[in-house]
Structure formats: structure tokens, C-alpha cells
Symmetry: C2
Subunit: 322 residues, 2 copies
Amino acid sequence: MVSKTTSLADRILSGEVRAAARLMRYIDDGMPGAGEELKKLYPHTGKAYLLGITGLPGAGKSTLVNRIVEHLRKDDLTVGLVLVDPTSPFSGGAILGDRVRMAHHFTDPGVFIRSLATRGHLGGLSWCTNDVVNVLDSMGKDVVIIETVGVGQDETEIVSMAHTTVVVLTPGMGDEIQAIKAGILEVGDVFVVNKARREGADRAVRDLETMLSMKGWKADEFRPPVVKTEALYDEGLDEMMDAIGRHRAFIEGGQGLKKKRIERARYELIELLKEGLLSAVVRTQGGEDAFDVIAAAIAARDSDPYTEVNRIIAGALKRPGG
Amino acid sequence: MVSKTTSLADRILSGEVRAAARLMRYIDDGMPGAGEELKKLYPHTGKAYLLGITGLPGAGKSTLVNRIVEHLRKDDLTVGLVLVDPTSPFSGGAILGDRVRMAHHFTDPGVFIRSLATRGHLGGLSWCTNDVVNVLDSMGKDVVIIETVGVGQDETEIVSMAHTTVVVLTPGMGDEIQAIKAGILEVGDVFVVNKARREGADRAVRDLETMLSMKGWKADEFRPPVVKTEALYDEGLDEMMDAIGRHRAFIEGGQGLKKKRIERARYELIELLKEGLLSAVVRTQGGEDAFDVIAAAIAARDSDPYTEVNRIIAGALKRPGG
């Protein structure tokens, strides 16, 4: 029996799923006590394999993730799933449509699903995602999947977190590929052309291969495979899982995984620090309301943001000049 | 004659374009002296109209922005253009393809173009974009256009900056619209269905209108117009400029613009504060290298990020508990 005075962290480590769900809510709400629990969980993390899935809206990522979960479950691996939704900064409403497809996993005790909305957290979303990934990791999930929709900033974040990043594209995205290729080529460890029954799938694969070959790979680098899938009909999934497995084997074979772990730790540290510093300083200013007064003065050009920030930092830090 | 000892800010205010270009480079490189110059420029800002253009890659935003610049120049308005590119976090290479279309504006003294790459700035991109917008504003540009590619976080940022936000979509984005509608409906002041010669343009307009009508607009709210354009052939641009003009007239007529200015000032303040706090604290730690050591300890589970962040904050702030 777990007593009511046992910490959330202890309850999570003893396998209590509801305790994990509660801590995730605390994290999302920015409750100050969450940090203490996360600190206790941290020594039990670092075991899960972190798989990032990214791509533009409409690429069929949710269906694909759904299939990946099925494949992992068939191999008797437990799965944590973090779905990062782009959300209205105003209404805070999350996009639920695609999530319905995940429904049958909700009753599987080997799968834990958590949606995170990218609503206006002061410090961005990343610290929150990191924390949730850590909870899933401490719960003993074998694989934690982080699904984000994104180009630009979100993409950078997923790469800093995941051990293997899968970029999902679709045929007929000629323009889009043109526009984002400079970014995606460096982001993906595995490229997936999903909706492969559509016209142009082979061409999309060839285009990607051509772009990748122009990069010039060194012998000790992993050249990302390009695979075709039609997730809706469960086609090409074995090839994709195999490609993911090859990348995993590659980074586990050398120094890759160790480097990625240090990179992620650095990223976690900086994200938490940004958030922690800002929160602490906002509190010393008397909360966010104080900022409204300053903002009004700046908007009226009675002050400027540079002067105000220098003043706040000088007041808050022991050695603001460094 | 402007002497060599005159500050960059003075030279910018006296109309020296090269001084503006130099300050923008300093901003991009994170040079500590840039803040002093920006402080001097700030009282001269707040006059430009800030127009945000966002949408997925491939929507034809660059061509559209090109047309908007032409239309504004015909009305003898000067234009500042900030192009925010999603870039590889690793190579730092910017996407230049679409920029070629802007080429003929480069020789127009009434237009100042600046590309910003979203490479791994510690504090994110926004503070940097804000600063560049302020320089363009202080130069006396009538309209400053901020073009971003984005879903998710980038979208939120543009809304916090711009007075009018234009969301660009294309026909046949059924899936995409489905996926992002929850976000875009609240972000756009004007919706543009570009590439309107493609099949499905009228349907895309109808779909958007339907979604917008479901929102239920109050009498004192601006209901975003939906316009069709084919930027490549300069079709629908007058209608779009008219829609933008109507939104501008609406927010200038009531308290809208004042509110937006305060909102932007608040956003600038918080972004600068995040960046400033982090930079100052990183310096007190002996630079970013010190973080590598901590990150290695965290990755090895000899420590955890929560403990490290608490320690750093306790060491850096006068009243860490607030």
C-alpha cells in the first residue's frame, strides 16, 4: 500500500500511473512543487530511447505515430507518447481531431499518452516537454515518442531532445521541400515520404536522395535513409522501423548517444534556467502585472525596453555586469 | 558631414543606411554595444505600421510580399522588410531561393531588406527581430513587413509584434487547414488564399468563411476578410491591400492600436529580459563552456538539471526566492 504522504515521485517510481498524470498536470500548470518531484525522478531517467517525429501539418504524422506505437507494442516495448500541438495562443484550445485515431491505445497500460499545447508559456514549450519526457522515462517506458508539428524553431527543439529524429513528408510537396530543404536535411536522421500511394511518391524519394547525396557524407557519419510509407494502410512500416533501428544501432555503437545525452542535458539546463530566472525575477517585480505598467510606459515612449531591462537586471542580479 | 565619432544611432537617424545595416549585424551577432544604440533610437520608433505575413512553406509568401512592396511603393510609402528564415540549427545557412524574387527591390532606396536566420540564438529569435524592427522604424520606414514561415511558436511571435497579421494559405490544403485551423483562425486579421488559379480556391475561401462564421463575432470585433490572390500574376492584390487597409483603419479608429502597442512593448520587455538574464548569468558562470561540464555531469546522472538550475539561480540572484 502506498500511503497518502508518499511523494508523487515515489508513487510514480512504484508504478502508479495516476501519480504520473498528476505530476504532468502540475508541470503544465507551472506549479512550483513540480521541480522537487522531478529532481527525485531524475536519477531514474536516461534509460528510455527518445524518438522525435516532426513534419508539416497534413503529412499524416498522427497516423504514422499510431502505427509506430503498434509496432513497438508487438515487440513488447512500452511506450510514452508526447504530442505537442500547435495551439491558439488565445483560446488555448488543443487540436483533438487526429488524436481520435490514438483512441485504442488509451486503454493499453503499456502506452502512456500526454498532449501538450504550445500555448503562451513565458519560457516557451521546451522546458515543459523535457519535464514530461523525464517523467515518462522514469516510469520505465522503453521508448518515448515526441511528436511535433513544425518548421523553424520547433524543429530545432525536437532535435535537441530526441536520439533519433524522423522527418515526415508527403508527395507533391515540391514547393515545400524547396522551401524547407535547407533546414530538414540537417534535422532528419530518417526521412519518411508518407501517403506514398499518392502520385509523385517515387519522385519525392528521388529528390530527397539527390539532396542528401549533395551533402557529402563522411565515412563516420550516418547517412539518413529515405523510406516510403502509407501509414493509413500499414504499408512500409517495417522498412521505417528498420531504418529507425539502424540509426539507433549506429549511435549506440559509437559516441553518438553519449554526445546526444550531453547535448540534451545542456539544452534542458538552459531551458530550465531561462524559465527559472524569468519566473524568479517576475516574482521580485511583484508579478506579471507590474510588467503591464512598464509596457504602457514603453508603448508611450516614456521609457524604452532596453533601459527597463537593464534596470530590472541590475536590481535582480548580484553581479549584473558579470 | 557626419564625423567618425558620431554614434551609430545618430548616423541612422540622419539617414545613413550603412549605419543601419551595421547595427543590424551587431544585433544579429549579439554585440553588447547594440543595446546602447537601440536605446537612443527607441524614442524615434512607434511610427511605422507593422505588417506581419505568415503561413506554411510553399504558400507563396515571398511572391506575395514582393507584390505588397510594389503596391506600397506605388503609393510612395517607404518599406522595411524583415524576412525570418527557418534555418538549419547546424549549418546556419539561410534559404536564399525565394529571395531572388526580391532582387529588384534591393536597388530601391525606399526599401530596406534584412534577412534573419532562426539559428540557435540562446534566447530564441524574437528579441532579435524586435530590435531589427525598431531600427527600421527609427529610420522612418512607413511600413515594416515581418515575414515568417511558421506554425506554432513563430506564429504567436508575429502576432505579438505586428499590428495587422496576414495569414497566407493555398487551395487544396484541406488536411492542413483541418490541422491548423484552431490556431490560424485566431491569428489572422486578414486571410489570403494565394495560388488562386489552382483548383479548389473557391472552396478554400468558403471553408475559411465557414470556420470564421462559427466563431461568433461581437459587434466591436473585426471580422477578418478572406481574399483570393494569385501573386505570380498580380491578381487580387488590390483586394488584399484594401483588406489590410480596412483592418488598419479599424484598429486606428478605436483602442486597438494602443492595445497592440502595449502588448508589443510587454513582449519586447519579456524577450529582452529572458535573453539579458540568461546572458548575464552565463557570464557569471564563466561563459557557455562551463555549461558543458555541468551538462556532462547531468547526462551521467551525477547531477540533475533541477538542482543545477536552483544552484545557479541562488548564486546569481539577490533574492532567488522572490
